[in-house]
Amino acid sequence: MKGKKERTRLESRELLSMYRDMVRIRDFEEACPRLYSQGKMGGFLHLYSGQEAVGVGVAHAIHPHDYMIAAYREHGLILAKGAHPNAVMAELFGKATGCSRGKGGSMHMFDPDIRFMGGYGIVGGHLPLAVGLAFSITYQGGDEVVVCLFGDGATNQGVFHEAMNMAALYQVPVVFICENNGYGIGTSVIRASAMESLYKKSCAYETPGLKIDGMDVLEVYEAVREAVQRAREGGGPTYIEAITYRFRGHSISDPGTYRSEQEKKIWRERDPIPNFSAWLQAENHATAEEIASIESEEKSVVAEAIRFAEESADPGPDELWTDVYVE
């Protein structure tokens, strides 16, 4: 983290709230592999560890009434947006108390109450939906903004380009945020995209594109805040590429042989959480005791989420047939 005190005007309270969210996400995610191996969860499990600065920076840069929509590495994002950890953990357990009532799972978290409009499992598939959400806002005269998060792999999909084009054409309030963690499963960005600088892809659509350090929560916050403000004022979409890294594999079953130990070590040293913690203390936003207290409290939050999920009931057998149709 850069050391300049004047790099943010945020109050200590907000900064500590960011820190708390990042710690919560990391603890939540790091609890999952053990629960998965115990058979408490099924399906895929794409963990967010390492990318917390992106999700938390974004979530703090928007209003509660703004919309977020995301791909399938979204546990951390829905938590950052404000979902109760109990409901997210219960969803991973497939329980009726889950945020998608046990029918979505890891990839399909949803909570309209906090305007988290879903996690989606087809790479790039939700980008046109994000444009539609933003279109709806404009149509209804609202002042909300949509933030749409996706991975580097999505930028090679056809719908990425359709969505970027339509968002710019209609000048709708959407901010596209590419979490470039370097790999689409096991294929590195340079082996998948003819243009390595993914942020430049927006130039085809006359849309501002910028690259930021996705390991620095304050840099994410500032960039997204500016883009969101422009969108809210009718200035149309922005495309942000946040450079980040996932500390775990693509999913729980990823052997991870395609990344060198050296590379992982370099990125581990850039871990957004201890770096932010050190900065908060160096800049006198928090004492070591306050940091420790947050970390301890969040451990309890995750423990409580696991307890809640364990004790919740499965959906009833009738739930198999509900919600296919409204009528």
Binding site: Y67, I69, G98, C99, S100, R101, G102, K103, G104, H108, F110, D111, P112, M117, G118, Y120, G121, I122, G125, H126, L127, P128, L129, A130, V131, G132, L133, A134, F135, S136, I137, Y139, Q140, G158, V159, E162, A163, N165, M166, L169, Y170, T322, D323, V324, Y325, V326, E327
Partner: protein, 323 residues
């Protein structure tokens, strides 16, 4: 009652519904300034403006995805795909997003969206522009599949579809747009999932929809001259599938033939035939037969194309096998 074409009936339905509800908007390729490639959206841009009638780029996945997102937070889009052939480009949006969103998110969202798509064969448009994809959408839970044949149905069904809270594939055969028929005056709707007996008869049931309704009616007329009374059941859609009307008819006639323009193999006729055998096997005096498009990519040559698409002669020939 007024006599109008299917094209005009569909157009009236959209005019009336858009006037009734500001949340309804239309988007698609050439739906506005050009007034639709089949002129079904004629006059809508002039009346409702470009906020509510939105020309799009040629981006079918983008169109359907935008409509899905808009529907999730309060709008009621009508997305026109220029033809159903292009729905294949948008199939990920339709099957992986529109159809599943409500279920996948535990019923916490609804997607009130109508996807209108003209389709069908018969104009020498070759293998990429002649599809009847009803069976593909029938296969996918979460989608309603509505298919009109006559102007009165076209109007009443489209109005119901627009008012429904579920995503609907509204499939219009290009060959019916110019067909005229009586349409009731004033505001009326036809419930989704209710078949209509287009011609009563006691000897055999012809189960059909879309343009094949006309083929079946002509076949029934010719059969009547030979003393065979065919009952023509127009399903008017495949989901909801009105098996009550079908089974009532089959129990009366004891013989059934499905007639569709989709490919025979994997067509909807197989599904209907299976259900008849499951539910009314003892009522049958003959096997349920199927008539469908030849299992080939549609050829361009006029004679070959004609040979691929079911016609009156083929329907009559199959009736003769069991009556």
């Amino acid at each position: 009652m007024a006599e109008i074409t299917c094209r005009e009936a569909l157009n009236q339905a959209m005019h009336e519904e858009m006037a009734r509800d500001d949340r309804i908007f239309i988007l698609g390729e050439d739906v506005g300034l050009y007034e639709g490639s089949f002129k079904v959206t004629k006059g809508l841009l002039a009346r409702f403006g470009d906020r509510r009638v939105v020309d799009t780029p040629i981006s079918e996945a983008g169109i359907v995805g935008l409509a899905c997102g808009a529907a999730m937070i309060g709008l009621r889009p009508i997305a026109e795909l220029m033809t159903v052939n292009f729905s294949i480009v948008a199939m990920d949006q339709i099957m992986n997003h529109v159809a599943v969103a409500r279920y996948m998110f535990g019923g916490r969202v609804k997607v009130p969206l109508v996807i209108r798509a003209p389709g069908g064969a018969g104009h020498q448009l070759g293998a990429q522009h002649s599809h009847s994809l009803e069976p593909i959408f029938l296969h996918c839970p979460g989608l309603r599949v509505i298919v009109p044949s006559v102007p009165a149905d076209a109007k009443g069904l489209l109005k119901s579809a627009i008012r429904s809270d579920d995503p609907i594939m509204f499939l219009e055969h290009e060959g019916i747009y110019g067909v005229k028929g009586e349409v009731p005056d004033g505001d009326y709707t036809i419930p989704l999932g209710v078949a209509d007996i287009k011609r009563p008869g006691g000897d055999v049931t012809l189960i059909t929809l879309s343009r094949m309704v006309y083929v079946c009616l002509e076949a029934a007329k010719q059969l009547a001259a030979a003393g065979i009374e065919a009952e023509v059941v127009d399903l008017r859609g495949l989901n909801p599938l009105d098996m009550v009307t079908v089974l009532d008819s089959v129990r009366k006639t004891r013989r059934a033939i499905t007639v569709e323009e989709s490919w025979l193999t994997g067509g909807w006729g197989g599904e209907v035939a299976a259900r008849i055998m499951e539910e009314a096997f003892d009522s049958l005096d003959a096997p349920v037969l199927r008539v469908g498009c030849a299992d080939v990519p549609m050829p361009y040559n006029k004679k070959l194309e004609k040979a691929a698409i079911p016609d009156v002669a083929r329907v009559i020939a199959r009736v003769r096998e069991i009556v």
